[in-house]
């Protein structure tokens, strides 16, 4: 397609190359340097979008981040991204974009029929309409939610790559316009580390008149020269295409950088990068957004902000129209008119609402029709279809064809023909980042703008600070950079850049909504959310006074553009209706993010397996090679079962558990928390931590212990062994390792610093595996220990340090399976060798690995509790049947709390064993326990498993006064899974209650 609206010359585009792209299924061409918006303008495309609520035809209205209308979907399938501003999408080969919020097409959108009923959908429509009947709300909600929103996000996983980067700098400057560049040059002159971020494709910001001289150079050359100088400084980092979207506490700024037009997962290059920059000083040079002046039908395609039209015409040589009418309330409209004329657009009339606007403002303009004291009251449009065509009114006009203007105070209108209608309503400083920490902008009545609040570490410059002419921007930028450096104790010798002297601006008019007169047609204030002056008037009549309430009632400023173009006009209108100033009305709260941030950028590379760290044991690779099935226990990957070919999971668990009872099994227990305790006061420390006594633990012996929380509830259990006179080795459960370490460190540092005891975490130092079963001693012996293994030499609950197969080990005679058992600890780097050796030399004994499932079966058979299952944070020692462990000869943490009446009540939940009355029936997982008659819960099942050695299902549970209810029949109910079984309460120890096998 020919670029019918591309000027023959000018613009910062590379005309030597063509870029082909698609929009709404049609092929177009543009040039490097274009955005999607500028390329579409150059191709004469005016209709890009449909509005959010009424599906009205919309075109490009603004430039860059301010655009409220032209939201498009880019890409296909999983890589598609909705709600992107066409004004911010760099054109690249193969770009495919389409309009959204329309069906079947943007030209013929059936949703536009809703416009016929627009009078029925005023502000607050939802609140008023869907209140009755109350019972129908769930239905209403479904319909409303389906209709809400703009684009549609893809359902497939995003194939693109996103990065996070952290950076630390002395001074961060947000905004790469002339103010930001001046600030960066000043700050960098101090030698401090400086970062400069700008959301645009090129540096220089919004200044378009590049013929002005700065330091004797044309502005564009000064900008290029400044960027080159900054880029050459090693302490300066330049971040182009980077939007600072949030300001957090302690000088942290969130920045979203567009890395490349196309992501490239193969090369590792990300599509977007989310920077978290920690800066000691921040300079905001974020510029200002132009306001629009509202009038009837002001949303027709072809109606734009004057500055945006000037930008497209000058920077991209893309002409949004041929004949323009410009409606202004301030001097900047004349500057825009001058730029438009220079680019080849005829300005047929300037409508200035100021009756006393100086004729000198029009000096040098070719336009000789200046209407002072006039306002545009209505836009006129070309209809999509003939007036008689069905639905033509609803489908609306495709483009502006003229407007009606009226002298203020009169109702006589004059008609002007044009294909481009521009408004220049003054400028609103972009103060958002300055307000993210709670500061409120300050109203400046002289300029009728809200200015940013500053802070000790925050400086503002340029248009953001209310400076709107070039020289003032340069000066304020330089001063902000200088002040930021001075705040860090640095002085600079450089002189501020010198710009052209400017004439004092004439006062602007406060008019942001033209008088309606007899004109009819909707008068839009916020384009993105379809809020009109009528909506605001209704809110005001209904007594909404706070701007925050008006915002929520009408949705003013609630779009993704955060009301950048609409809110100032809305606030001005509310002020006019209230007889107040905008300063009295105030602004709504600016919250992060300033601009939309993709979910991908928020997640970064923390997706899938990279979403959270996982830990593996020293034996992990062996387990993997052996075909183990893994489970996550906290962060640990643990071998759950070792299924053989053709074996089901249940068969594998049964085989592994049975083998422990009948021969010998070996399992990885490296995940246990391990600590080395040193010092002469370790026994005293253990006395205070554990419920039982430790003073008489001899060297070479181990002991089981339970720790309590301060409130008396069971915290954790494990063993501690005395390796030598002043060295102890403690194990904790896997899940509580970090908690117990913190607990002990806190006690030693704060509670008992006088104790001569140190705690060193050695969980990572030791790989560990348990050997259990009647043949465990035989297996230990074939590993060629250099220590005696007989029952007398190495009795139950003892420890030996020595070597197995030449590998240094700590061997503990401990069993969690209720069998003759050992736990073997070898240095982590040697653990696999020893494990492999044990399986090799123990093959004739029938040794086989078993996983956590079989381990669970074995411990349930023995009635051993596990923190998190039976000890659930509400369980005391006595509840678990271990009350006799509590030593009365000394005190320990949590002991005093046990005296509380509630913890000694007879009807507390006690640990019990559970079997089904029909032994063939499995126990329902997580079932509640109730009497058959009442169905009132009296406890619950905490653990259950099939016991291959017993031949039926067994379980552990907590039951009210359970110790005295052995033999009672109850019902186990799990309504969530639809299961119910009669069960019998039994002793929790199902297997070898005398413990003879452990002591063998």
């Amino acid at each position: 397609m020919k670029q019918t609206h591309r000027a023959a010359s000018g613009g910062r585009i590379d005309r030597s190359r063509l870029i082909r792209f698609r929009f709404n299924g049609r092929d177009y061409a543009g040039h490097p340097g274009d955005t999607l918006a500028s390329a579409l303008i150059a191709n004469g495309v005016k209709l890009l979008a449909r509005s959010f609520k009424y599906h009205r035809p919309r075109g490009i209205f603004a430039a860059g981040i301010d655009e409220p209308n032209a939201l498009v979907r880019v890409g296909e399938g999983a890589a598609a991204e909705p709600n992107l501003r066409a004004t911010q999408i760099p054109l690249h080969e193969g770009l495919a974009a389409q309009s959204q919020n329309c069906w079947p097409s943007v030209d013929w959108d059936i949703g536009a029929l809703i416009g016929l009923a627009a009078p029925l959908f005023p502000a607050g429509f939802y609140y008023k309409t869907f209140m009755w009947p109350r019972s129908a709300w769930p239905l209403y909600e479904q319909i409303i939610r389906r209709a809400a929103g703009l684009g549609v996000a893809p359902t497939e996983a995003d194939p693109d790559r996103y990065e996070h980067r952290h950076a630390e700098t002395d001074i961060l400057i947000v905004g790469g316009g002339v103010s930001g560049l001046a600030a960066a040059l000043a700050a960098a002159n101090s030698g401090l580390k400086v970062m400069l971020a700008d959301d645009g494709e090129c540096w220089g910001g919004q200044t378009l008149d590049e013929t002005q001289l700065v330091d004797g150079l044309p502005l564009r050359r000064w900008i290029d020269d400044a960027v080159q100088r900054l880029a050459a400084m090693p302490q300066v980092t330049l971040l182009p295409r980077s939007t600072a979207y949030a300001r957090y506490d302690h000088g942290e700024i969130g920045i979203l950088q567009q890395c490349a037009p196309e992501s490239n997962p193969i090369s590792g290059r990300a599509r977007q990068c989310r920077w978290l920059v920690h800066s000691r000083q921040v300079v905001l040079a974020t510029g200002a957004s132009e306001r629009h002046i509202a009038f009837a039908n002001n949303d027709l395609p072809g109606i734009m902000l004057a500055s945006a039209a000037a930008l497209y015409a000058n920077r991209y040589a893309a002409l949004p129209g041929r004949r323009a009418v410009l409606f202004t309330n301030n001097d900047s409209g004349y500057a825009a008119a001058r730029l438009l004329e220079n680019a080849g657009i005829a300005v047929v009339c300037i409508v200035d609402c100021r009756p006393d606007a100086s004729p000198g403002l029009a000096a040098g303009l070719r336009c000789n029709t200046i209407r002072r004291g006039y306002a545009v009251v209505r836009a006129l449009g070309r209809r999509a279809l003939g007036r008689r065509a069905l639905g033509s009114r609803a489908l609306g006009n495709r483009a502006v064809s003229g407007c009606e203007i009226a002298k203020l105070g009169t109702e006589t209108v004059e008609r002007l023909d044009c294909d481009l209608l521009l408004t220049a309503g003054g400028w609103t400083p972009r103060v958002h980042l300055s307000s993210h920490l709670g500061e409120r902008p300050v109203f400046d009545p002289a300029q009728s703008v809200f200015l940013p609040a500053t802070a000790a570490d925050l400086h503002c410059a340029g248009a953001c600070a209310g400076e709107f002419d070039l020289n003032a921007c340069l000066q304020s930028g330089f001063n902000a950079g200088k002040q930021a450096a001075a705040s860090l104790g640095k002085t600079i010798a450089a002189q501020p850049p010198e710009g052209p002297a400017q004439q004092a601006a004439q006062p602007a008019s406060a008019m942001l909504v033209a008088p309606a007169g007899k004109a009819h047609g909707p008068c839009f204030v916020d384009f993105q959310t379809d809020v009109t002056t009528a909506d605001l008037g209704l809110a005001h009549r209904e007594n909404f006074r706070s701007i925050e309430h008006v915002k929520r009632y009408t949705t003013l400023g609630m779009g993704t553009d955060q009301g950048r173009t609409g809110a100032p006009t809305g606030i001005a209108h509310i002020a006019a209706l209230s007889g107040k100033t905008p300063g009295d009305i105030g602004v709504t709260t600016y919250r992060t993010p300033y601009a939309p941030v993709t979910l991908g950028a928020l997640a970064g590379r923390h997706v899938g397996k990279a979403s959270a760290p996982t830990r593996v044991t020293p034996l992990h690779e062996w387990h993997k090679a052996a075909g183990a099935v893994f489970m996550l226990a906290g962060q640990w990957q643990r071998a759950q079962i070792f299924p053989r070919p053709g074996e089901s999971d249940e068969q594998a668990v049964n085989r592994e558990a049975r083998n422990v009872r009948e021969a010998v099994g070996i399992t990885d227990v490296s995940t246990l928390g391990k600590f080395e305790l040193r010092g002469r006061d370790v026994p005293e420390l253990l006395e205070r931590l554990y419920v039982n006594g430790w003073r008489n633990l001899a060297a070479g012996r181990s002991r089981y212990g339970v720790m309590l929380r301060l409130d008396g509830m069971v915290l954790d259990d494990g063993t501690t062994s005395r390796l030598s006179d002043d060295t102890y080795f403690m194990t904790t459960t896997t899940g509580n390792a970090e908690r117990i370490y913190a607990h002990m460190r806190r006690c030693l540092q704060l509670e008992w610093p006088g104790l001569d005891a140190t705690v060193t975490p050695v969980t990572e130092q030791w790989g560990a595996f348990a050997i259990a079963g009647p043949k465990a001693r035989a297996l230990l012996e074939v590993l060629q220990p250099d220590f005696a293994t007989g029952n007398a030499d190495f009795p139950y609950m003892s420890v030996r340090e020595g070597k197995l197969s030449g590998i240094p080990v700590r061997a503990f005679r401990i069993s969690f399976a209720g069998e003759l058992g050992y736990e073997i600890y070898a240095p982590a780097g040697m653990a696999t060798a020893l494990w492999t050796k044990a399986l090799e030399v123990g093959a004739s004994l029938g040794v086989m690995p078993y996983g956590t499932e079989a381990m669970m079966v074995l411990r349930i058979e023995k009635g051993f509790f596990v923190p998190g299952f039976e000890a659930d944070g509400r369980t005391t020692l006595d509840d678990l049947g271990l009350g006799r462990m509590l030593s009365s000869k000394k005190a320990c943490i949590g002991q005093a709390a046990l005296n509380r009446e509630a913890l000694q009540a007879a009807d507390r939940l006690h640990l019990v064993g559970i079997v089904a009355t029909d032994p063939t029936q499995p126990l329902p997982r997580g079932a509640q326990l109730a009497t058959p008659s009442s169905h009132e819960s009296q406890g619950h099942i905490t653990s259950m498993a099939y016991s291959p050695i017993l031949g039926h299902w067994i379980g552990l549970g907590l039951l009210r006064a359970g110790r005295g209810r052995h033999g009672e029949i109850l019902t186990a109910m799990a309504p969530a899974i639809g299961q119910q079984t009669d069960i019998r309460i039994v002793d929790p120890v199902f297997f070898d209650p005398e413990g003879s096998r452990s002591h063998a």
Partner: protein, 163 residues
């Protein structure tokens, strides 16, 4: 049993360690002095906590050291995996996973920090264009893979497990 305050207990332990190792131990506040000191030209000594130090050496020069008062030595040589990260883009790559200024300080220098949620020690020695990441053994497989992926866009830096 003496009734020490927490700081007194730390001082006692520090004095015992200094006596044991015959050196001035790293200061508690790393901003006041380098956090890392050479130890007898055989290794490095890094303060992990007010009363904890990590001694690093290629060989095992600490094994023969006797306990001295409250100073206790525990071998944790299998607990950490050391990753050498080299190349001009090493800091750029690390900025993807940790919030640290660089350079850390006058080398040798070390900090304890989190790297993608994993507790690590970052060590900058006198070696140019390289630094070391000490990570707990159990996390090393996951973290090394994460870092390798982070480094994918660069020809450098290179990652190699150091002895």
């Amino acid at each position: 049993m003496p009734d020490h305050s927490s700081m007194e207990a730390c001082s006692l332990r520090e004095a015992a360690m200094a006596q044991l190792l015959l050196l001035q131990l790293p200061a508690v506040n790393a901003s006041d002095a380098a956090a890392l000191h050479s130890y007898a030209e055989a290794g490095l000594c890094l303060r992990l906590a007010p009363d904890q130090w990590l001694l690093l050496a290629e060989t095992e020069p600490f094994a023969a050291l006797p306990a001295s008062g409250r100073a206790k030595l525990t071998d944790i040589s299998h607990a950490w995996i050391r990753l050498r990260i080299s190349g001009p883009k090493r800091w750029e790559m690390l900025s993807k996973c940790m919030a640290l200024p660089h350079p850390l300080g006058p080398a040798p220098y070390a900090v304890r920090t989190l790297c993608v949620g994993v507790p690590v020690i970052l060590l900058e020695t006198s070696e140019t264009e390289a630094l070391y990441l000490l990570m707990p053994r159990s996390y090393s497989a996951w973290l090394t893979q994460w870092l390798a992926d982070a480094a994918a866009e660069y020809a450098a830096p290179s990652l190699e497990t150091a002895p």
